[in-house]
Symmetry: C2
Subunit: 119 residues, 2 copies
Amino acid sequence: MRINFDSDGLVPVIAQDYKTKKILMLAYADNEAVEMTKKTGFAHYYSRSRKKIWKKGEDSGHVQEVLSVLVDCDEDALVYLVNQTIGACHTGYDSCFYRTIDGEIVGEKVFDPDKVYAN
Amino acid sequence: MRINFDSDGLVPVIAQDYKTKKILMLAYADNEAVEMTKKTGFAHYYSRSRKKIWKKGEDSGHVQEVLSVLVDCDEDALVYLVNQTIGACHTGYDSCFYRTIDGEIVGEKVFDPDKVYAN
Protein backbone atom coordinates (compact mmCIF):
# COMPACT_ATOMS: atom_id res chain seq x y z
CA MET A 1 0.00 0.00 0.00
CA ARG A 2 1.36 3.43 -0.94
CA ILE A 3 1.67 6.09 1.77
CA ASN A 4 1.28 9.76 0.89
CA PHE A 5 3.84 11.48 3.09
CA ASP A 6 3.45 15.24 3.52
CA SER A 7 5.92 17.86 2.26
CA ASP A 8 8.12 17.14 5.31
CA GLY A 9 8.12 13.43 4.48
CA LEU A 10 5.87 12.63 7.45
CA VAL A 11 2.54 10.93 8.07
CA PRO A 12 0.44 11.19 11.26
CA VAL A 13 0.16 7.90 13.15
CA ILE A 14 -2.52 7.07 15.71
CA ALA A 15 -1.54 4.39 18.23
CA GLN A 16 -4.58 2.43 19.40
CA ASP A 17 -4.66 -0.36 22.00
CA TYR A 18 -5.79 -3.45 20.10
CA LYS A 19 -7.62 -4.90 23.11
CA THR A 20 -9.31 -1.92 24.78
CA LYS A 21 -9.53 0.10 21.50
CA LYS A 22 -8.39 3.12 23.52
CA ILE A 23 -6.57 5.77 21.50
CA LEU A 24 -3.15 6.05 23.14
CA MET A 25 -1.31 8.82 21.29
CA LEU A 26 -0.81 10.64 18.01
CA ALA A 27 2.71 10.98 16.62
CA TYR A 28 4.42 11.17 13.23
CA ALA A 29 6.45 8.76 11.15
CA ASP A 30 8.68 9.05 8.13
CA ASN A 31 9.17 6.21 5.66
CA GLU A 32 12.12 4.80 7.60
CA ALA A 33 10.14 4.78 10.88
CA VAL A 34 7.32 2.87 9.17
CA GLU A 35 9.81 0.39 7.72
CA MET A 36 11.51 -0.09 11.11
CA THR A 37 8.10 -0.66 12.68
CA LYS A 38 7.26 -3.34 10.11
CA LYS A 39 10.71 -4.95 10.39
CA THR A 40 11.01 -5.01 14.19
CA GLY A 41 7.33 -5.32 15.15
CA PHE A 42 7.69 -2.39 17.57
CA ALA A 43 6.39 1.15 17.06
CA HIS A 44 8.87 3.67 15.70
CA TYR A 45 8.10 7.33 15.10
CA TYR A 46 9.88 10.46 13.86
CA SER A 47 10.35 13.25 16.39
CA ARG A 48 9.73 16.62 14.77
CA SER A 49 11.47 18.44 17.63
CA ARG A 50 14.50 16.17 17.93
CA LYS A 51 14.54 15.55 14.17
CA LYS A 52 15.22 11.84 14.50
CA ILE A 53 13.55 8.46 14.59
CA TRP A 54 12.66 7.10 18.01
CA LYS A 55 11.46 3.78 19.23
CA LYS A 56 8.51 4.23 21.60
CA GLY A 57 9.66 3.09 25.04
CA GLU A 58 13.39 3.27 24.29
CA ASP A 59 13.93 5.18 27.58
CA SER A 60 10.91 4.13 29.67
CA GLY A 61 10.61 0.52 28.56
CA HIS A 62 6.97 1.27 27.68
CA VAL A 63 7.23 -0.23 24.22
CA GLN A 64 4.40 -0.80 21.76
CA GLU A 65 4.25 -4.17 20.03
CA VAL A 66 2.55 -3.48 16.70
CA LEU A 67 0.05 -6.13 15.66
CA SER A 68 -1.32 -4.40 12.59
CA VAL A 69 -0.93 -1.17 10.62
CA LEU A 70 -3.99 0.41 9.01
CA VAL A 71 -4.04 3.01 6.22
CA ASP A 72 -6.84 5.49 5.56
CA CYS A 73 -8.69 6.14 2.31
CA ASP A 74 -6.38 8.99 1.25
CA GLU A 75 -3.31 7.03 2.33
CA ASP A 76 -2.10 9.97 4.39
CA ALA A 77 -2.72 8.70 7.93
CA LEU A 78 -1.90 5.45 9.71
CA VAL A 79 -3.14 3.51 12.73
CA TYR A 80 -0.76 1.29 14.68
CA LEU A 81 -2.79 -1.34 16.55
CA VAL A 82 -0.56 -2.04 19.55
CA ASN A 83 -0.01 -4.07 22.64
CA GLN A 84 1.12 -1.27 25.01
CA THR A 85 3.51 -2.09 27.87
CA ILE A 86 2.45 -0.23 31.09
CA GLY A 87 1.28 3.13 29.68
CA ALA A 88 1.68 5.32 26.62
CA CYS A 89 1.97 8.84 28.05
CA HIS A 90 5.11 10.36 29.58
CA THR A 91 2.84 11.96 32.22
CA GLY A 92 2.05 8.54 33.71
CA TYR A 93 -1.40 8.18 32.17
CA ASP A 94 -2.40 5.18 30.10
CA SER A 95 -3.21 7.44 27.15
CA CYS A 96 -1.97 10.88 26.08
CA PHE A 97 -5.66 11.80 25.65
CA TYR A 98 -6.35 11.81 29.40
CA ARG A 99 -8.29 15.11 29.54
CA THR A 100 -11.39 16.58 27.99
CA ILE A 101 -11.20 19.99 26.33
CA ASP A 102 -12.79 21.33 29.53
CA GLY A 103 -9.90 19.99 31.61
CA GLU A 104 -11.68 17.03 33.19
CA ILE A 105 -9.34 14.08 33.81
CA VAL A 106 -10.69 10.96 32.10
CA GLY A 107 -7.48 8.90 31.86
CA GLU A 108 -6.03 6.43 34.29
CA LYS A 109 -2.68 7.02 36.00
CA VAL A 110 -0.69 3.81 35.56
CA PHE A 111 2.85 4.77 36.57
CA ASP A 112 4.86 7.45 38.37
CA PRO A 113 6.83 9.42 35.75
CA ASP A 114 9.33 10.64 38.39
CA LYS A 115 10.37 7.05 38.95
CA VAL A 116 10.38 5.97 35.31
CA TYR A 117 12.20 8.98 33.88
CA ALA A 118 14.52 9.66 36.89
CA ASN A 119 18.15 10.62 36.09
CA MET B 1 -7.92 23.91 27.85
CA ARG B 2 -5.46 25.58 25.50
CA ILE B 3 -4.89 24.08 22.04
CA ASN B 4 -1.49 24.40 20.35
CA PHE B 5 -2.36 24.92 16.71
CA ASP B 6 0.46 24.37 14.21
CA SER B 7 2.02 27.09 12.03
CA ASP B 8 -0.95 26.78 9.65
CA GLY B 9 -3.38 27.28 12.53
CA LEU B 10 -4.48 23.64 12.44
CA VAL B 11 -4.65 20.69 14.80
CA PRO B 12 -5.12 17.03 13.82
CA VAL B 13 -8.43 15.55 14.99
CA ILE B 14 -9.17 11.85 15.36
CA ALA B 15 -12.86 10.94 15.16
CA GLN B 16 -13.63 7.85 17.23
CA ASP B 17 -16.99 6.07 17.57
CA TYR B 18 -17.92 6.44 21.23
CA LYS B 19 -19.71 3.07 21.33
CA THR B 20 -17.55 0.72 19.24
CA LYS B 21 -14.32 2.71 19.93
CA LYS B 22 -13.49 2.28 16.25
CA ILE B 23 -11.27 5.00 14.81
CA LEU B 24 -13.31 6.54 11.99
CA MET B 25 -11.07 9.16 10.39
CA LEU B 26 -8.32 11.69 10.87
CA ALA B 27 -8.87 15.26 9.74
CA TYR B 28 -7.79 18.77 10.74
CA ALA B 29 -9.48 21.65 12.53
CA ASP B 30 -8.72 25.30 13.00
CA ASN B 31 -9.88 27.25 16.03
CA GLU B 32 -13.17 28.22 14.38
CA ALA B 33 -13.95 24.60 13.46
CA VAL B 34 -13.36 23.54 17.08
CA GLU B 35 -15.60 26.37 18.30
CA MET B 36 -18.35 25.45 15.82
CA THR B 37 -18.09 21.83 16.95
CA LYS B 38 -18.53 22.83 20.59
CA LYS B 39 -21.34 25.27 19.78
CA THR B 40 -23.38 23.03 17.47
CA GLY B 41 -22.54 19.60 18.91
CA PHE B 42 -21.64 18.33 15.42
CA ALA B 43 -18.15 17.69 14.06
CA HIS B 44 -16.61 20.49 12.00
CA TYR B 45 -13.20 20.32 10.34
CA TYR B 46 -10.98 22.50 8.16
CA SER B 47 -10.31 21.24 4.64
CA ARG B 48 -6.68 21.86 3.70
CA SER B 49 -7.43 21.33 -0.01
CA ARG B 50 -10.61 23.42 -0.20
CA LYS B 51 -9.27 25.90 2.39
CA LYS B 52 -12.54 26.15 4.27
CA ILE B 53 -14.43 24.81 7.23
CA TRP B 54 -16.75 21.88 6.56
CA LYS B 55 -19.36 20.16 8.62
CA LYS B 56 -18.92 16.39 8.38
CA GLY B 57 -21.97 15.02 6.54
CA GLU B 58 -23.05 18.34 5.04
CA ASP B 59 -23.44 16.63 1.65
CA SER B 60 -23.99 12.97 2.57
CA GLY B 61 -26.04 13.44 5.73
CA HIS B 62 -23.50 11.25 7.51
CA VAL B 63 -23.04 13.67 10.38
CA GLN B 64 -21.07 13.12 13.57
CA GLU B 65 -22.73 14.08 16.83
CA VAL B 66 -19.85 14.97 19.15
CA LEU B 67 -20.29 13.73 22.70
CA SER B 68 -16.88 14.70 24.03
CA VAL B 69 -13.62 16.29 22.89
CA LEU B 70 -10.33 15.02 24.31
CA VAL B 71 -6.97 16.83 24.26
CA ASP B 72 -3.56 15.16 24.40
CA CYS B 73 -0.67 15.86 26.78
CA ASP B 74 1.02 18.32 24.40
CA GLU B 75 -2.31 19.95 23.55
CA ASP B 76 -1.59 19.55 19.85
CA ALA B 77 -4.03 16.77 18.93
CA LEU B 78 -7.74 16.20 19.59
CA VAL B 79 -10.15 13.28 19.71
CA TYR B 80 -13.81 13.81 18.85
CA LEU B 81 -15.87 11.03 20.47
CA VAL B 82 -18.81 10.76 18.08
CA ASN B 83 -22.10 9.17 17.32
CA GLN B 84 -21.63 8.50 13.58
CA THR B 85 -24.66 8.46 11.28
CA ILE B 86 -24.37 5.58 8.72
CA GLY B 87 -20.62 5.63 7.92
CA ALA B 88 -17.63 7.94 8.09
CA CYS B 89 -15.80 7.27 4.84
CA HIS B 90 -16.73 8.68 1.42
CA THR B 91 -15.82 5.25 -0.05
CA GLY B 92 -18.81 3.65 1.70
CA TYR B 93 -16.88 2.02 4.51
CA ASP B 94 -17.71 2.58 8.16
CA SER B 95 -14.20 3.89 8.79
CA CYS B 96 -11.58 5.56 6.56
CA PHE B 97 -9.10 3.05 8.04
CA TYR B 98 -10.64 0.09 6.19
CA ARG B 99 -7.38 -1.45 4.90
CA THR B 100 -4.18 -2.77 6.38
CA ILE B 101 -0.85 -1.53 5.03
CA ASP B 102 -0.71 -4.81 3.07
CA GLY B 103 -3.98 -3.98 1.32
CA GLU B 104 -6.25 -6.37 3.19
CA ILE B 105 -9.79 -5.02 3.59
CA VAL B 106 -10.76 -4.97 7.28
CA GLY B 107 -13.57 -2.40 7.21
CA GLU B 108 -17.25 -2.88 6.68
CA LYS B 109 -19.08 -1.44 3.67
CA VAL B 110 -22.15 0.32 5.04
CA PHE B 111 -23.43 2.37 2.09
CA ASP B 112 -23.12 2.76 -1.69
CA PRO B 113 -21.18 5.97 -2.40
CA ASP B 114 -22.61 6.17 -5.94
CA LYS B 115 -26.05 6.55 -4.45
CA VAL B 116 -25.12 8.93 -1.64
CA TYR B 117 -22.91 11.27 -3.66
CA ALA B 118 -24.84 11.09 -6.96
CA ASN B 119 -25.30 14.41 -8.84
